[in-house]
């Protein structure tokens, strides 16, 4: 299967983008549609630590997560919902575990669909077990285990498959720790894109054999690492402007899944998804204010702006005062989705979208960058160089820099000296990088394999 590079935008104007609507909606079994005029709430719950001790205990745990979510969906009258299961190591490593766990959840959701007509989707996010220094990213024992698990999940009834692949992470981590924007660009933008193509060509072909959508892949290991290392306003590990540049670069990388045939809805923790939706028109999942159970962030409302499936990100499987966490957190995302669906039904969608956006647009540089009119600009910068994975990632970062500087100069976005200095320094480095991918790669290959022992160029065909 080929790779279709995007050289133009799916949307003519950013104002066309709104939550619950995508240019190319996706229909999954049990009658859930994403991006077809309504927002679907999602719940994701991590199995209780210790339940991974045997296949039997894990399967039971999975069934219980699905059952508790489905029961609450019916109890509070949700028209549709998604259960996402991010795999624990054992679930992906042992394909028979992956099969049995998926089947157990699929049976529960089908039962509720048959009995109540509640539309449900089951997402299986396989773990990227691959480690560069342990056999490499291609054809290793871990890589083969993932491929086998994808196949088994499809067979067992997964509605769609997602991943959070780790390509380029060794170089990215080096860049984060040393404040080296070139390494961040090389790690996420170049190496990450190469690995995505390897991973998603295969996954798309596997899903095509079943009634399972190849949904997408987030740069959790890259841009989210940067965002979490940067932390809150008082964080002292990475500048928020640097993390925002990494986010822009990650859009060029996560786009590759769609170019290989992934359909969306793109996975929830991809904060770069707004940019990719603007380019491709595929529906997206997002997380924000209802993911407080998983992490703190500085754009809890903004990420609702053009979402099609609203998620809680992750929570331990345990009891809250309001019930078990699959029920409680589906209720949280369910009511937020209901608000958005009400806005759509009453003709207020664009107003609500703009309210969501405006609350966080200048709270943090990354919010400025991801506000949908600006995310659209980054998308345009990417498609301008759409056929070159290096140049488009570089262009995304430079456009992001321009957006943040404009907001700063307009006195809308405040920055600390550290944020401003880092932005200026990184921008000047990015501007000085060559306009030919070959030269850039050559420069990087002279330096990073020597400095980063865990970086395995062979994993990227280099």
């Amino acid at each position: 299967m080929g790779v279709r590079r995007y050289t133009k935008m799916a949307y003519k104007d950013p104002d066309e983008m709104v939550f619950g609507h995508a240019k190319f909606p996706v229909l999954e079994h049990w009658n859930v549609q994403f991006g077809a005029g309504y927002v679907v709430p999602e719940v994701k719950v991590a199995p209780e630590p210790g339940t991974e001790r045997s296949k039997e205990t894990l399967v039971k745990e999975m069934a219980s997560i699905a059952e508790q979510a489905a029961a609450r969906a019916v109890d509070i009258g949700l028209p549709a919902f998604m259960v996402e299961q991010e795999h624990v190591f054992q679930q992906t490593y042992h394909a028979d575990w992956g099969y049995a766990c998926t089947l157990a959840q699929a049976e529960v959701l089908k039962k509720y669909y048959d009995e109540y007509g509640v539309c449900a989707a089951l997402r299986q996010t396989v773990g990227d077990l691959r480690i560069e220094e342990k056999g490499g990213l291609r054809g290793s024992e871990y890589d083969n285990a993932i491929a086998q698990c994808v196949e088994e999940c499809c067979k067992a009834g997964a509605s769609d498959i997602c991943a959070e692949t780790m390509g380029g992470k060794s170089v990215l981590d080096y860049g984060v720790m040393r404040g080296d924007i070139r390494a961040i660009l090389f790690g996420i933008g170049y190496l990450g894109s190469i690995d995505m193509e390897y991973f998603w060509k295969r996954t798309v072909a596997q899903c095509a054999k079943y009634d399972t959508r190849p949904a997408g892949d987030t740069n959790c290991s890259g841009a989210n690492t940067c965002m979490y290392v940067a932390g809150g306003l008082l964080g002292k590990d990475m500048s928020h402007t640097g993390a925002a540049l990494a986010r822009a670069i990650s859009a060029a990388r996560s786009l590759v899944a769609v170019e290989c045939g992934a359909t969306g809805p793109l996975k929830d923790c991809g904060y770069e998804n707004t940019i990719i939706k603007a380019i491709t028109g595929v529906p997206i999942c997002q997380e924000g204010k209802n993911a407080v159970c998983a992490h703190a962030d500085v754009m809890g409302n903004l990420t609702c702006q053009v979402v099609d499936c609203w998620s809680n990100e992750s929570v331990f499987h345990r009891e809250e005062m309001g019930g078990p966490t699959p029920a409680v957190w589906l209720q949280a995302t369910g009511y937020e989705a209901a608000l958005m669906n009400t806005a759509i039904q009453t003709g207020n969608a664009k107003t609500l979208r703009d309210l969501y956006t405006f609350t966080d647009m200048f709270r943090d540089p990354q919010g400025t960058l991801l506000a949908y009119p600006n995310a659209y600009r980054v998308g345009k910068a990417i498609v301008e160089y759409g056929k070159d994975i290096y140049l488009r990632a570089r262009a995304a970062a430079l456009e992001a820099s321009k957006i943040m500087m404009e907001a700063y100069e307009a006195k809308l976005l405040q920055m600390t000296r550290f944020e401003l200095d880092t932005l200026r320094k990184y921008t000047s480095i990015l501007e000085s990088l060559p306009m030919e991918a070959e030269i850039f790669v050559d420069q990087c290959m002279r330096e990073y394999p020597r400095k980063i022992p865990t970086f395995d160029p062979k994993s990227y065909g280099l």
Binding site: D15, A46, P47, P49, G50, E52, V88, F89, Q90, Y93, D128, L129, R130, I131, E133, K134, M166, K169, D173, V176, M177, R178, G179, D180, S221, T225, V229, L233, L234, K236, D237, M238, S239, F316, K350, T351, D354, T357, F358, T359, D360, M361, F362, R363, D364, A371, P373, A410, L412, Q414, M415, T416, R417, F418, E419, T454
Partner: protein, 276 residues
Amino acid sequence: MALLDWAKKADFDMIFKRYNVIIEGPAIKPEDDPDVKKVLPTAEPFKSLAMAVIFGDSEKAVQAAKSALDRGTAPLDVIEKGLAKGMDAVSALYAKGAYFLPDIMLSADAMTAAMQVAEQKLGRAREKKGTVVSFVAEGDPHDIGKNLVVMFLKANGFEAIDLGRDVPNSQVVDAVKKYKPVMLTGTALMTTTMTAFPKVAEMLKEQGLSVPVFGCGGGAVKRDFVESYDMGVYGVKAFHAPKLAEAALAGKSFKDIRKEYPKIVGEFVAEYADRM
């Protein structure tokens, strides 16, 4: 577009406040910071060595070390009275939020490069404060936290044995047997890989082994979980690792460290607010 109109009219202070901008003091040179002044040597060549570390300039640090050694300064003095003092200053700047992670890493690189020059002259590695073994839990490929822990330990004079990521529990036990560390550190991003920690603690006990402190932290790891098994101390920040190791060296048990964590690391730690 509504957003642009709102941007002209809105009082942002009623929506959010960027406290990092609000609390930012005037720009000062690192060497003028009062906490840096306390540790920065005034005499040469030590001041130049320390300053090269503070500015994370590997080339200058190596140059300053070579020049000091050529002029007869003892290699150990180059390290202890110059380079290490620069690193102490960097730690102080980081703790108060004036320096950021990349600054620390570049300073650590500068210190390592210059220290190698001094150790070459010395004919051996300088004596380390103690040995710490660090690993990422079995099944977990996320190692940025562990890499930070290792860097902070090395920069603070510890021998840090880095077992890597996705490390089988048995390999951790073997390393404890071999190195008899003053501290073991384990990191995990995922809730299901962190279950390796109690298993390691149990395996150590079964083999009659123990470590003064088994510092565990990362992503989903929480204090109540870590304190549910023997030796476990919940590590909140990577830069706390050397302080915990020093406490263990000073004879504190894991139970003492649990109780005195904020005092030991020298700052307010929300996760230990009940033990301030």
